[in-house]
């Protein structure tokens, strides 16, 4: 699929010497929802800010729909809408007037019919003449999205779009993002809520300490790196895992009432039948079996911890 955004060898070192990004390469496909995951300070917001022209990169190039964002910022920026992490909007303006301001700022001629539709889609129609200071936090966040959409961007950046938003509003926003994708908008979101990426993203990128650790189809990533767990509920609790079971690397959970077996679902031999036979041979009774797959959050934590461990190993 054709790229709409191409980030090549982008690095950023701030004046303080802090290296926020380290030679990041990233291709975003037209029309996809891409989730960028990473802990606080990983470089997510810096990367978005560089693409949008708010932060100047130290090195690297960015192409937005084929336009160099640094040499030809006007063409590049006109295609991008940004919803920043913080609610930053003139509190004295009305909802409708701040949207008209954003549309004008991005060089688009007035189109009240389009803006009215955005207001309706975001459930802001009843609040169109209200001052922003009078709105709730959730409504203000919708206004930020409405402003970003007011100039009909081809690429929409959502930096932590549902941070501090209640569950109901979060679900509404997910629906709205899905609808935007159906209309052809490419969406790049950063989030702390792994379930958000799991729910919506087509592809996932994991960034930590300024380095892009991986970019993968969400489904492939979960399949490739996903582990499954089997919890065995014991009839009689035990104080330690018998040595005869060492080859399965079991852990004892729930104060000795459960044995946990972590296995690779993609492996040819999962080891489950042999484990169950061994339990029977040892006379260990169990009353229930429960299997679950690892979430994107588990995968993310594993990746970041693994990378940190390997870095520490390299230093040592």
């Amino acid at each position: 699929m054709q790229s709409i955004l191409s980030v090549s060898q982008v690095s950023k070192t701030y004046g303080s010497g802090h290296k926020a990004l380290d030679h990041v390469d990233l291709e975003i496909r037209r029309g996809e929802i891409f989730a960028l995951l990473g802990p606080n300070g990983a470089g997510k917001t810096t990367l978005i800010s560089i693409i949008c022209g708010i932060v100047t990169p130290s090195t690297g190039t960015i192409l937005v729909d084929g336009h160099d964002a640094i040499r030809h910022p006007r063409e590049a920026r006109s295609r991008i809408g940004l919803v920043p992490q913080e609610i930053a909007v003139d509190m004295f303006s009305t909802v409708a007037s701040t949207m008209r301001f954003s549309r004008g700022l991005f060089g688009k001629k007035p189109d009240q019919a389009y803006l009215d539709q955005v207001l309706k889609d975001l459930s802001l129609w009843d609040k169109r003449d209200a001052k922003i200071m009078e709105l709730s936090g959730g409504m203000k966040r919708r206004v930020m999205i409405a402003k970003a959409l007011s100039h009909q961007p081809e690429i929409l950046f959502l930096d932590e779009p549902t941070a501090g938003v209640d569950v109901s509003l979060r679900r509404d926003m997910w629906k709205m993002i899905g609808k935007l994708r159906e209309q052809g908008t490419t969406i790049i979101l950063t989030t702390h809520y792994i379930e958000e990426a799991e729910e919506m993203a087509d592809r996932v990128g994991v960034i930590n300490k300024g380095q892009l650790l991986l970019v993968e189809e969400k489904a492939v990533l979960m399949k490739k790196l996903g582990k499954r767990e089997m919890d065995i509920a014991l009839v009689e609790p035990m104080t330690a895992v018998p040595v005869e079971l060492n080859e399965w690397h079991l852990s004892l959970e729930d104060e000795g009432h459960r044995l946990r077996y972590v296995f690779d679902a993609q492996a040819e031999r999962t080891g489950i039948p042999s484990l169950l036979r061994k339990l029977a041979d040892l006379g260990i009774g169990f009353k229930d079996l429960d299997t679950s797959k690892s979430s994107l959050e588990d995968i993310f934590v594993d990746l970041v911890e693994h990378k940190e461990a390997s870095n520490e190993g390299a230093v040592a």
Binding site: S49, G53, V55, R74, D90, M91, L105, G107
Partner: protein, 256 residues
């Protein structure tokens, strides 16, 4: 998108003008009241005891100086808060991420700030007509000076707004530099009334040239020649323009 972003310039201009309307009392009425007080105190109470300066009575002589005082302070205040406030509230991200060039942004902000100053200057001019007899020998030159000074000092205010890291810094240049220079720049007197060396020292004050040129447009007389007045004002305009271009090229206090 190619060409000039007229919609962007207009959006900034309209937003800034709307801010003025929201704070109409503070933006327009306050300078009018303050200037009226100057006329009552300096023109009426004290001015009646001062002889004419050249062929102009002291009350009328004050008008260009008072308008210039308001133009400088209002231009700087309007433009500096116009760009500082988005920095303070974080809304500057939208300006920086928009497809709008530095020049277009400056036209929007400086244009709005200058418009407000010109309107205030004209209101003060009309107000003064209620207190003192007025004549304007060179109305076109008067309007040209009004516009030139408003634009130049709006640009200067824009630079202060970008430079300022807090509200204290925002006020420090107007309070500690511009107001004293205006008071010492012949707003209330002719520098010919000063003894040497203060008269010569005053010639290093750029505000002298602004006030003198503006006063010449009213009464055909000034402390320095009209050529010098235009030259120094134009030079200051170019200096401000150069600084603004440098700020946007380097991203000074706007971008990381």
């Amino acid at each position: 998108m190619t060409g000039v972003n007229f919609h962007g310039i207009w959006a900034i201009y309209k937003f800034e003008m709307a801010r003025t309307l929201r704070t109409l009392w503070q933006s327009v009425v306050t300078p009018v009241i303050t200037t009226s007080l100057y006329f009552i105190v300096f023109g009426g109470a004290i001015g009646s005891r001062i002889d004419s300066i050249g062929s102009v009575n002291y009350g009328s002589f004050l008008v260009p100086g008072l308008i210039m005082l308001s133009l400088l302070t209002q231009s700087i205040a309007n433009a500096s808060i116009g760009i500082y406030f988005p920095k303070f509230t974080g809304t500057v991200f939208e300006l920086l991420s928009a497809p709008i060039s530095a020049v277009e942004m400056v036209i929007g902000f400086v244009g709005a700030a200058a418009t407000k100053s010109i309107v205030i200057g004209l209101i003060i001019l009309i107000t003064s007509a209620f207190f003192v007899p007025l004549r304007i020998d060179h109305p076109a030159a008067m309007l040209a000076f009004l516009v030139l000074t408003s634009v130049t000092f709006s640009m200067f205010g824009f630079i202060i707004g970008i430079w300022a890291k807090g509200f204290e810094q925002l006020n420090i240049v107007p309070a500690l530099l511009v107001t004293p220079l205006t008071f010492l720049g012949g707003a209330f007197y002719s520098i010919d009334m000063l003894p040497e060396p203060w008269r010569t020292v005053s010639l290093f004050n750029p505000v002298v040239y602004l006030v003198s040129g503006f006063r010449w447009s009213f009464f055909g007389q000034g402390d320095v020649s009209i050529g010098w007045s235009l030259g120094v004002t134009g030079l200051f305009l170019l200096l401000c323009l150069g600084l603004i271009i440098a700020i946007f090229r380097t991203g000074y206090r706007l971008k990381n």
